[in-house]
């Protein structure tokens, strides 16, 4: 579905991505893990057209080169950006409405309304707070709203950037659990996480990034057991690690 080949991106003189190649197949949940500054967010932003890049990115066989972010949303790629990026002074309902911005001109209102109902069912807390300003929600509710807003565009591919950041473990669990539900609904997901263990639990496959490159890839289950990954990203006890040798 999403194919990235030999992708390079630069911030001025700094190379953020140097030759990334990866792919996401239809119906998969793929995790992208790695430390801060490894280039995970840049990769998502390159796919969304927010960052200029060189190389090859195709979505459903169509090249995304030179496309504006809003046009890429129209193709069915939505990103839930790091830090939620809600329209904080606007109400929950308005945030959801704007999520479907591109659909109003092409589709009948009924379809959009059905999606809104489905999402309010998926995140019941949002229903209670529809008239509340987005900025006044709790962190977990804001993350739910950010995901719901992205889903209002009815994406085929959902890119999630650090959905667990700054949230309590229980909230993280419930948000990651919804990802499973979304997959059942036919949404393909590319999940960027620093919380590697949580990400690997919900993902089918994963890529490990380091300094702008893909260092490792494989099925999530294999990576969870991989020593290198365990040591570098899962924060296993040092003792356990040395004794295991």
């Amino acid at each position: 579905m999403l194919r990235i080949r030999n992708l390079f991106a630069y911030y001025g003189a700094v190379t953020a991505l140097s030759g990334v190649t990866c792919r996401v197949r239809e119906g998969e949940v793929v995790a992208l893990i790695g430390a801060n500054g490894a280039g995970k967010t840049t990769l998502l932003n390159a796919v969304c057209g927010l960052v200029r890049w060189q190389g090859e990115v195709t979505f459903q066989g169509r090249s995304l080169a030179g496309m504006a972010p809003e046009a890429i949303v129209g193709l069915g790629v939505s990103q839930v950006a790091e830090g939620r990026q809600l329209f904080a002074p606007m109400s929950v309902a308005e945030n959801l409405e704007l999520g479907a911005y591109r659909r109003y001109r092409r589709e009948e209102r009924g379809a959009i309304e059905r999606d809104r109902e489905w999402l309010l069912e998926l995140f019941p807390k949002l229903r209670e707070r529809q008239e509340q300003r987005a900025g006044t929600l709790s962190g977990g509710e804001q993350q739910m709203l950010a995901i719901a807003r992205a889903l209002m565009a009815r994406p085929r591919l959902l890119l999630l950037d650090e959905p667990s950041l700054g949230l309590a473990p229980l909230v993280v669990e419930s948000i990651l659990a919804t990802l499973g539900e979304l997959r059942a609904q036919g949404v393909t997901i590319l999940l960027v996480e620093q919380n590697a263990r949580a990400a690997l639990k919900v993902a089918d496959r994963a890529y490990v990034m380091e300094t702008g490159r893909i260092m490792l890839s494989g099925s999530a289950r294999d990576l969870l057991q991989d020593r290198q990954v365990t040591r570098a990203y899962l924060g296993r006890d040092y003792k356990e690690f040395t004794e295991g040798r």
Binding site: L50, V73, Q85, F87, A88, E97, L98, R102
Partner: protein, 318 residues
């Protein structure tokens, strides 16, 4: 600008000669309430125009974080276009709508031809481009309309109305009424329509707006058209009270900018409040102290606000 002022009397003397306080205006006593009311009426009228201009500054600032110093020229273009249209076909509603439409196109062209080619440069560069645009538009207007002043007939006659001890022209009511209507429509647009909400979303978080599929560049263009339309409406409303001259826009634009800063840049409530306050302050100062201080008041207020409350009264995004 300096040269202009030497050649002709300052704007303040040309504007609304019939509303300028007579000698009796200086002899106010506590029980002589009439002149004060008179100043209030004329101040609110000018203030309504400043408010429309200030709203235009705010809309563009919200969309782009730049100050469009060509905003005042849109006011001038509105007045002169409407006057010319009226001379072609004497219908005031048609002149109003036609003038606003023509200037909206001018605003869109300004964005398309002067600002868009320079995309991705710093805001300060863009602001200087708008200053250049203002000078260019003013020059163009001078070569097209010449240096003389034109009149537009009042919308509904010129029999003065008596409001207690104060006198006002029907046009003053038109300015206030249409001004209020325009502000209400604008607010409804931003609160109730999808396009308006999308513009607000762009102002709050442009990156997020692009990620939900809102075309930010189209919103920027739209904001230029909208604020040009607001300025034009202001210019046409005020044209029967002042006169339409090619260089009327500069001072009005600066006053509108002061009003925007006073109220809080980017806030619509602030723009309206700032405009009305500034208009009244000016009119009181020129009535109670000396009409020579009229323009000084605006800039004095601007400095005071920038020193002590740079976010403005309502706390916009400045």
């Amino acid at each position: 600008m300096v040269g202009d002022n030497r050649r002709r009397p300052p704007l303040s003397c040309r504007r609304r000669p019939y509303l300028r306080p007579g000698p009796e205006g200086h002899a106010i006593t506590v029980d002589n309430f009439g002149p004060l009311l008179q100043y209030l009426v004329s101040g609110l009228t000018n203030g309504a125009i400043y408010a429309l201009i200030a709203l235009g500054f705010g809309i563009i600032y919200n969309a782009t974080t730049i100050i469009n110093f060509a905003q005042g020229e849109m006011v001038m273009l509105g007045a002169l276009c409407a006057i010319s249209l009226y001379q072609l076909y004497p219908s005031l509603p048609l002149a109003f709508v036609g003038g606003v439409a023509l200037v909206t196109v001018a605003g869109l062209l300004l964005e398309r031809l002067a600002l868009r080619p320079a995309r991705d440069v710093s805001p300060i560069t863009l602001i200087i481009i708008t200053v250049g645009g203002a000078v260019f538009i003013k020059g163009l207007a001078m070569s097209f309309w010449g240096k003389e002043a034109y009149t537009l007939p009042p919308f509904s006659g010129s029999t003065p109305l008596h409001l207690g001890p104060a006198t006002m022209m029907p046009q003053n009511l038109w300015v206030l009424g249409v001004g209020a209507l325009v502000v209400a429509l604008l607010e409804a647009f931003f609160r109730l329509t999808l396009a308006g909400k999308a513009m607000r979303a762009c102002a709050y978080n442009q990156r997020a707006a692009r990620l939900v599929g809102i075309p930010a560049s189209r919103m920027v263009q739209f904001s230029f058209g909208l604020s040009a339309a607001l300025g034009a409406a202001g210019g046409i409303l005020i044209a029967p009270l002042t006169l339409g001259v090619y260089d009327m826009g500069t001072m009005l634009g600066l006053k509108g900018f002061c009003a925007a800063i006073l109220g809080g840049l980017g806030s619509s409530l602030g723009g309206v409040l700032g405009g009305l306050l500034l208009g009244v302050a000016e009119s009181l100062a020129s009535g109670l102290i000396s009409s020579g201080y009229r323009d000084a008041v605006a800039f004095f207020i601007l400095l005071v606000v920038l020193f002590w409350r740079p976010q403005g009264l309502v706390g916009g995004r400045g």
